[in-house]
Subunit: 460 residues, 2 copies
Amino acid sequence: MRDLACDVAVIGAGTAGIAAHRAALSAGAKAVLIEQGPGGTTCARVGCMPSKLLITAAEAAEDARAAHRLGIHVGAVHVDGPAVLSRLRRLRDRFVGSVFEGLEQLPDESRLTGRAVFEGPDCLRIDDHTRLRFKAAVLATGSSPSVPEPLRDLGERVLTTDTVFDIEDLPASLAVLGAGPVGLELAQAMARLGVRTSVFDPGDSLGGLSDPDLKAAAREIFSQTFDLHLGAKVAHAAPDGDGARLGWSGEGGAGDGRFARVLAAAGRPPNVRGLGLERTGVSLDEKGSPSYDSRSLLCEGAPILIAGDANADRPVLHEASRQGRIAGRNAARLAAGEGLERPERWVALAMVFSQPQIAVIGGGFSPESGRIVGRADFCDQGRAQVMDRAQGGIRLYAEPDGRLTGAELIGPEVEHLGHLLAYAVQDGLDVRRFRDRPFYHPTLEEGLDTALSDLVDRLG
Amino acid sequence: MRDLACDVAVIGAGTAGIAAHRAALSAGAKAVLIEQGPGGTTCARVGCMPSKLLITAAEAAEDARAAHRLGIHVGAVHVDGPAVLSRLRRLRDRFVGSVFEGLEQLPDESRLTGRAVFEGPDCLRIDDHTRLRFKAAVLATGSSPSVPEPLRDLGERVLTTDTVFDIEDLPASLAVLGAGPVGLELAQAMARLGVRTSVFDPGDSLGGLSDPDLKAAAREIFSQTFDLHLGAKVAHAAPDGDGARLGWSGEGGAGDGRFARVLAAAGRPPNVRGLGLERTGVSLDEKGSPSYDSRSLLCEGAPILIAGDANADRPVLHEASRQGRIAGRNAARLAAGEGLERPERWVALAMVFSQPQIAVIGGGFSPESGRIVGRADFCDQGRAQVMDRAQGGIRLYAEPDGRLTGAELIGPEVEHLGHLLAYAVQDGLDVRRFRDRPFYHPTLEEGLDTALSDLVDRLG
């Protein structure tokens, strides 16, 4: 066991950890990055990138099937599952590889490998080989998929995002537990790739939507692609040959069925257990998660900052990356005895890359807020009709004084309108000023113009 | 011949004219709209909408052909030309129909039909049936496609945007004269629909690009889809059976060839001839176009305003619509003896809906400006790679103080980045502030983040 000392110890070499380490180094701190595997960021390895690769193939299959509506005839559409998955892994491995390349460029003395456990508020042990004293630490340990209790005896019949992208061929059928962003994206992609797919969720919402109208629209749209059971909880599961038999019940009805595979997509709890946090003096809640300040990212009770999925606040890459930078800079400041930065939070921005896509800006709908709601419908929107994608709608929320505060959208390619709206909300833009901007014709952005116009009328 | 009088006479019932008429009515003026056909706006009838409908079908054909790269196999792709064109006309007629519905809701006394000719600075004659005295007039007569001299003896072998969407089936081959936005969109769509297509343009640019790097990228990308002759002018044309034989020459080389049809896509001059403008006192240039103020839209020498394609300034729908509103309000003010509004101009925004798309914001590149240039490439951009559309690049232009002034882009779906950038330029946003915004992962907007980062580095 060797003894080392540093200014800033960063635990976890994912998106948040890498950003924190770089920021601490840039601030002049002696910073050490502790990699504890699996290598590669959640995003590149099991998250954003592989799911978007699966979706790209699924959309190609669906578009080919629908091309006849535009006068383009193709023969039978054949999904070559192994080829789809092989392209997915080839590009995924390239994205993961570029993460590794970045790490390999770091000087050896600023990297350690192994499982880090706190021995106290200023000391970590890495495996049995190193004791590392630090002035400040950044906890960037990420999250891991959870497997609900009833599925625990199903062995390899259960997939998670950690394993689903490594299957050799597509299953004949799939039960997806969880209708949030991850469950919805993968369920729709699998269904379009020819997998008989059922989705179960105890709630009444798809893809994180909260607006009542849009939730209803989403239920109608997606239930045409897969078998949808909202208000249904999977209570029983048992192996059945190569597959599994599930039983479910709830307000949405009861039933049972057999599936070749089951995908657990009901959440990714933060990795905060088994780290010795109880020896640091940090205040922990009943789940073992530290209390922390959402702007400085400092935990209560010790010189430890928490960034990225580990704090379970906004588990999306752009927030993990920014939180990493903030935590790294603040760790360097703590180590140097300086005061902490508390930058304004960005507007919350969440997206689902289903088709139609979903975007929620500023936390979405809240019936008690007294906010004014502006509406537009993609069903009669010019460009959406041209594209043969006229489905969904826009809801904009504004204060009575005209300031835009949030939005929810389901519709074609709303990832782009999501950015426009996020920036407008972040700037506190008045909806009347927003309207006095060019909306090119014929674009989906004109749907936003319609919703803004409705909102301005309602403001009176 | 009856005699009528009004406050505001609006000549032309296209996008600008309809907007002007509505704005003048809203301002309390007695306003008359003079429709002189063909009915329906340029946009709905022969412009934005039918071209985007053709492009949608062409992209479906191309995507089906490329789907095997994603593991999706389809049989032979067969383009059913009559079906493609029939869907196009069905939706086009619906868009045109909704323009007519809007007009039919106007009170009869505020509409006149016929060809309007100025008899003096306050008087119009409409056909031989009406003399209309006005206090102010709005000229919103639009534009018409020009047919270059060498093509004038080809009869029905020559198509323009006025006629190309009415053909019953796709031609076997097509020569497109003009590589601007319209020529490029239609040439690529036709080529993807199986038409052997050649494009001729005396210039060196495609789709209105001005940045040298992006012009070169565009030449390379699009010459893979159709036979491209830049620096080549069609000098001779003669009928050859059902088709036409063309001869061309110039810096780009000389040659000749036979084509089933020829599409004249080299411009739409404004409709300003034969209107009797010379009797109004308005200052006219050598082409017969009035001198006017680009903010108030008032012509020099008479109470006449000019809006939309008729002033040939920014022949795009969102400008025609806004100019119509400004001209209509100002016409009402003139009629009431009030001073004119001179609202700030919007940032210039031009787009080409080819694949990859093109967007030019703020007028594009100017080598003498001393502006700082930020660059990013779509070839190694994550989302573009996932989508199998990793082509093109971004150029951002900023003043040395950091203020964003313009941009040019060629790349996947840059219509959306175009909006983001147009709003940032219009707001005079500092590129350092622009960077401190969420860019969701994995999106094409992250390419913009990369270009902003490059620009910030160059600002020092």
